[in-house]
């Protein structure tokens, strides 16, 4: 028996990430987190204990060999580090920015027991940005298999499936309904959290793996899935994401100035309404903006409204701070910028003016009762606690329901009563050769879980094609 090794000296605190100052960033759309310098990235990478049996990897939906890529960073082999990441993940600059690492890889980091876990996401972001600035190396593709795959939706799930299958030598065509690929990365997540030039660069990288991207192509309308199969595609992957916005179903909800978060963010991110009238798509931001909901989409909407010139932005959430589903980091960022959170309150009706614009929102206070099916304590209205807020812009960010077009136009496709597509654990649907993954299967979730589903589906599709 060897003697117990002396415990290595652990740096308990993570190297902080430089950020734009709140009073500056709340008026611009530039990225908030500036990223590590080389010196900082080495210091942070050196905090990693290089565990013989690393636990972090079990928290990664795409199973990146985290410990190995961090080792390369420590050795300043940034090219090797990014190559290691890209073995599993084709969109690292995106994941480094928007993955909820605190609930995934970093949650399992043993350093978390004594201090801050290693900032795995920030390390990933650094090497991805390092590579992008130098130009991408395109990995070799396997020889062509002669099999054709249609991927529906160019979001995180679809891009992952497409990248993995293209690398394996299959011919891939992505069909995207909007005018740009990227899905939620393009239309949903704002510039200050995920710059669109970075999304574009990562999408371009995926395209370089060899595939065709057909934009303005709504499957279910332009062609249906049965038609794709008839037209020579050997397999189809459905990655159409979360679709129609949910509304509150309360009086006055269709007054002017009340947006779904999807509409608000599409106008701002995809259509660049922040640059109106230089860009043609308008958006109207009042002085008092209220965002309903407590997820990341609510935070994104609130922080966008602030940057568009709102005097006051308030998030109204029916549960308490503890139940907020948004990432902690985003909540902190929002509050630093001056966004106010009003907890335990829910709107009951909107009051508008004669022109049909929203002017006031009546709310009721809530208290938390017994836990519901989600395990969170159910909010219960407090009788007689109604109060009124003056508002002139409202963003409803309470979730989305699956887009129904594919389900309505694909006979034999099994769906749940919520409209999501039924699959097995590998993404196989009720139709042979048709797979699905991401939000269209799970309901609204994260970018990385959609990518994880894409990886599994790509593997299953590959096996299916090679047996066929």
């Amino acid at each position: 028996m060897s003697e117990p090794k002396p415990k290595p000296k652990v740096q308990k605190e993570a190297v902080p990430i430089p950020k734009q100052r709140p009073e500056v960033r709340k008026r611009n759309f530039d990225e908030v987190a500036l990223g590590y310098t080389e010196e900082q990235v080495l210091a942070e990478a050196n905090r990693c204990l290089q565990c013989p049996k690393p636990e972090c990897v079990q928290g990664c939906p795409v199973e990146i060999d985290i410990s190995a890529f961090i080792k390369f960073i420590r050795e300043r082999k940034f090219d090797e580090a990014i190559k290691k990441i890209k073995e599993k993940n084709s969109l690292p600059a995106i994941c480094g920015r928007v993955c909820p690492q605190e609930d995934q890889c970093q949650k399992f980091c043993v350093l978390g027991k004594v201090g801050d876990p290693v900032s795995i996401g920030r390390l990933e972001k650094f090497v991805a940005d390092w590579e992008r600035q130098r130009g991408f190396d395109v990995p070799e593709r396997a020889p062509p298999t002669g099999k054709r795959v249609a991927v529906i939706g160019a979001g995180p799930a679809g891009l992952t499936v497409a990248a993995d299958l293209a690398k394996l030598g299959h011919e891939v065509v992505i069909f995207e309904a909007l005018h740009l690929p990227g899905g939620v990365l393009m239309y949903g997540i704002p510039e200050f959290r995920l710059p669109k030039s970075i999304v574009q660069a990562e999408v371009d990288y995926v395209k370089k793996l060899g595939m065709e991207v057909r934009t303005n192509f709504l499957i279910g309308r332009t062609y249906t899935i049965p038609e794709l199969l008839k037209r020579g595609f050997d397999a189809v992957f459905i990655g159409t994401g979360a679709g129609l916005p949910q509304f509150l179903r309360i009086p006055g909800e269709n007054f002017g100035g009340i947006y779904s978060a999807n509409e608000f963010l599409i106008r701002v991110n995809l259509m660049k309404a922040y640059a109106f009238p230089a860009y043609d798509t308008p958006i109207r931001i009042g002085r008092h903006v209220v965002v309903i909901g407590g997820g990341n989409v609510a935070m994104d909407s609130a922080r966008s409204a602030l940057r568009l010139g709102a005097e006051e932005v308030c998030i109204v959430y029916r549960r308490s701070r503890e139940e907020l589903p948004a990432r902690k980091e985003e909540i902190e960022n929002a509050e630093e910028e001056g966004i106010v959170c009003k907890f335990l309150a829910a709107p009951v009706r909107f009051v508008g003016d004669e022109k049909g614009w929203v002017r006031q929102m009546e709310c009721i206070c809530m208290e938390l009762g017994a836990p519901d099916e989600s395990g969170r304590r159910r909010p219960v209205p407090v009788k007689g606690s109604e109060f009124v807020m003056d508002v002139d812009t409202v963003v409803v960010a309470i979730g989305r329901t699956p887009n129904p077009i594919i389900q309505r136009t694909t006979e034999g496709l099994e769906v749940t009563r919520w409209g999501t597509i039924v699959t097995d654990e590998n993404g196989k649907t009720s139709i042979e050769g048709v797979y699905a993954g991401g939000d269209i299967v799970t309901g609204e979730a994260t970018v990385i879980s959609a990518m994880g589903a894409g990886k599994k589906a790509a593997k299953a599709i590959h096996e299916y094609l090679m047996k066929k």
Binding site: N216, T222, F247, D280, T281, I405
Partner: protein, 282 residues
Amino acid sequence: MYKIITKMELAPKIKLIEIHAPEIAEKAQAGQFVILRVDEKGERFPLTLVDWDYQKGTITLIFLEIGVSTKKLGELESQDEILDVAGPLGNPSEIRHYGSVCVIGGGVGTISAYPIARALKEAGNKVISIIGAKSAKLLILEDEMGKISDELYISTDDGTKGQKGFVSDVLKLLIEKGHTFNLIYAIGPAVMMRAVAEVTRPYNIKTIVSLNSIMVDGVGMCGACRVTVGGETRFACVDGPEFDAHEVDFGELIKRQMMYLSEEKLALERWENRRQVCNERT
């Protein structure tokens, strides 16, 4: 990119373009629309599919130049390209043999009424059409509607052609004279569709309208096009664009259509000023 094959002016500020878009031409059906984006800075906006030719791989659109987007589109000439055209979108009209149908087009709504009237005629219906405009010179598709209608009635607000008054007045007269209709289609400004709905309601004649709400993506994501139909919130882009006229909350629709009036005006003024500067330079 989608190339314009032909272009012509049908009436002042009303233009027709034929665009190369083979997949859309292959799948288009009456009642559907496309979403266009003219250039990199452009809006996404819907236009009705007026005609399509599977053999040639082309679709035909007709539009009134009213805001920046339609003016930009109107500036393009034959052989120019449109950046984005997505479609066919929306649910197709339910075309079958109903018997006697009345198809009503008010103003530029005639553009959307025409393909539906044509399809209803092809399905063996007796088609009575009513088209109207503010004034005779703004009347469009008269010949086309005439060809596919068993009877065609015309009204103008100023009486310069046909009956003086509104299309809903003509419909009322026809019904009062004893015409019976199994189905009525009414497409035009929201006030006109509401007027038709009120004419047919007492007679309990099934009436369908095609709603032109504001859309952003048009593929079922944003909810900008939401309308209240039968007390429920519905989305014109995926649940429509056609709805039962007697169930639609037109008052709300009218207000929602006017939401961006001041921004639209601002954008238009800015665009026209820039155009002027460009013209002066050249």
